[in-house]
C-alpha cells in the first residue's frame, strides 16, 4: 500500500526578519502513521496553514526536522497532493485540462493520465463537465475538481487546507462525506486542516487541537468511531462525547 508516513520533531516557523519576526508555529512534534487520516483544528491564525505549507515543502522550517517516509524533506514532492481552500483552477483551461495539470507538469504518459482523470471526474460526478471552463461550475463542483487534480498523480499523502472552507454548510457536509468514502477507498495518508469540529471528527482517525499562535499541539484525540462513517455517525453518543471533549479543549484557557 502506497501511503506515506510523516514525522515532525521540534518544528518551528518564524516569519520575517529579526526585530519584526512573527513566531507562527511550534515547536511541533507529530508522527503520522501511513494510511491514517489526521484532522487539525485550532484558532484562526494559530499556524495551521503554515504547518501544512511546511509539510508540503512549500516553505522551509525555521528549526526542527520533517521526515516523510523516513527521509528528510527537501521541497515539494510529486508524492503529495494538495487541496487548498480555494479551488485554484486555471480559468483558461477546461476542467479536464485542469485535472490533467499534474500529468502535464510531471510529464506522465498521456493516455493513462487521461483515463485516470476521466475516471476521477466520473467518481465525483463531474464527467459531463470535463470540457467546461471552471466558471461554469458551482463552488462545490470546483472543489471536487480540485480533489480530482490532487489525486491524479496518485499521491501517497493528501494535504487539505480547509478544502471545504469556502462552501455553504450543505455542500460542505456532502463533500466531507464523499471525501470520507474516497479516502477509505484509497487508503492514503491525509492531513486535514479545518475550522469545523464535526468535520474533523467525522473524517479523522485523530483530531489534533492546536493552541493560539505560536501554534503548538495542545491535544491529540483518537477518534475510535467505526468506519464507514455517514450522516448518522454525527448522532452517535461517542461522536457527541468526542465533540464535547474537543470543544472543551479548544475553548479552555491556556493555563488550565
Amino acid at each position: 500500500m502506497a501511503a506515506a508516513s510523516l514525522s515532525l520533531s521540534g518544528v518551528t516557523k518564524v516569519y520575517g526578519r529579526t526585530g519584526t519576526e512573527t513566531h507562527a508555529l511550534g515547536p511541533i512534534d507529530l508522527t503520522i502513521e501511513p494510511g491514517t487520516f489526521v484532522s487539525v483544528v485550532g484558532p484562526s491564525g494559530c499556524g495551521k496553514s503554515t504547518l501544512l505549507r511546511l509539510v508540503a515543502g512549500l516553505e522551509p522550517a525555521s528549526d526542527g526536522r520533517i521526515e516523510r517516509d523516513g527521509a528528510p524533506l527537501t521541497g515539494p514532492s510529486r508524492e503529495v497532493g494538495i487541496v487548498f481552500q480555494d479551488h485554484v483552477l486555471f480559468p483558461w483551461a477546461s476542467i479536464l485540462e485542469n485535472v490533467l495539470l499534474p500529468a502535464e507538469v510531471l510529464g506522465l504518459p498521456k493516455a493513462p493520465a487521461r483515463a485516470r482523470a476521466l475516471h476521477l471526474l466520473e467518481m465525483t460526478g463531474l464527467k459531463d463537465f470535463a470540457g467546461a471552463r471552471p466558471q461554469m461550475l458551482s463552488g462545490g463542483m470546483k472543489q471536487r475538481a480540485a480533489f480530482c487534480r490532487a489525486l491524479l498523480a496518485d499521491p501517497k499523502m493528501l494535504l487539505l487546507d480547509e478544502p471545504f472552507g469556502a462552501l455553504d454548510a450543505l455542500t460542505r457536509e456532502e463533500l466531507s462525506l464523499e471525501l470520507s468514502r474516497l479516502w477509505q477507498e484509497l487508503g492514503r495518508t491525509a492531513l486535514l486542516i479545518t475550522h469545523d469540529i464535526e468535520e474533523a471528527i467525522l473524517l479523522g482517525d485523530r483530531v489534533i487541537i492546536m493552541s493560539a499562535r505560536p501554534g503548538r499541539i495542545r491535544a491529540d484525540i483518537p477518534v475510535d468511531l467505526a468506519r464507514p462513517r455517514d450522516v448518522r455517525t454525527a448522532q452517535h453518543p461517542r461522536f457527541i462525547e468526542i465533540k464535547q471533549q474537543v470543544r472543551d479543549l479548544i475553548f479552555a484557557r491556556p493555563n488550565d
Binding site: L58, P91, L101, P102, L106, R133, A153
Partner: protein, 253 residues
Amino acid sequence: MARTPRPAMADRLTTPIIYLVLLVAWEACTRYFRVPGWVLPMPSAIATTAWEWAPELASNTLVTMRETLVGFVLALVLSVPLAVVIAFAPVARRILYPILLGLQSIPKVALAPLVILWLGIGEWPKVVIVVLVCFFPILVNVVAGLEAAPRNMLDLMRSLTATQLSIFLRLRLLVALPPLFPGCKVAITFAVIGSVIGEFVAAQDGLGYLILTSTAQSQTPLAFAALLVLTVLSVVLFYAIEAVERRVVTWTP
C-alpha cells in the same frame, strides 16, 4: 439567450443614427451660415472631393497603414521579450526601466526630425517612430501581467514540482495575456499618430503628407477627407485588435 430582436436592433442602430444626425446638422449649419469651404467644408463637398481623389487617398492610406502596422508588430515583437527580461531579471529591470521610461518621456514630435535625419525620408523612419510610440504601453502591461500570477496558483505549480520554465509557460504567460490586449489597443491608436508625425516632418506620401500638402494649398475638403480616412483607419485597427482579443481571451481572469 432569449433576447428580443427589437432592442438589439435599436442598440445597433443608435450609433449610426447619431452620426447621421450630426452630419446633417454640420451640412445644414455650413450651408445656412455660408461658411467658406476652405475654413470648414460641407460634408457633401468632402464626399465629392473624396470621390474625385479616391485613387490618391487609397494609395496614401496604404502607405500610412503599412508604416503603422509594421511599426506596431515590430513594437510587439520587441517589447514582449523585453518585458520577460524585465520581469524576471532584477538587474535588467534596474538598468533598462529608467532608459525605457526616459525614452517614453521624450516627446516623439521632438524626436521625429532626428530619426528622419538619420534614416532618410522613406517609410522606415516612420516605422521607427511608430515603434517608439507603441512599445511602452505594451511593455508596461506585459510586465505587470507577468508579475500578476496569483500566489495560490504559484504554490500549486510549485507543489507539483514544476520548473520555472514550466511555471512560465503554463501559468505566467497565460495570466499576462488578458492585460496584453489593453496595452495593444492603446498602442495601435498611438501607432497611427506616430506615422502621421513622421509624415509631417518629411515624406513623399502617406495620409499625413496628404493632409499637410492639401492644407498648404487651401484644399481643405481634401484635408478633411484624408483626416476622415485616418480616423476610420485608427478605429478599424482598434476594433481589429478587440476582435483578436475576444478570440484569444475567452475567460474572465
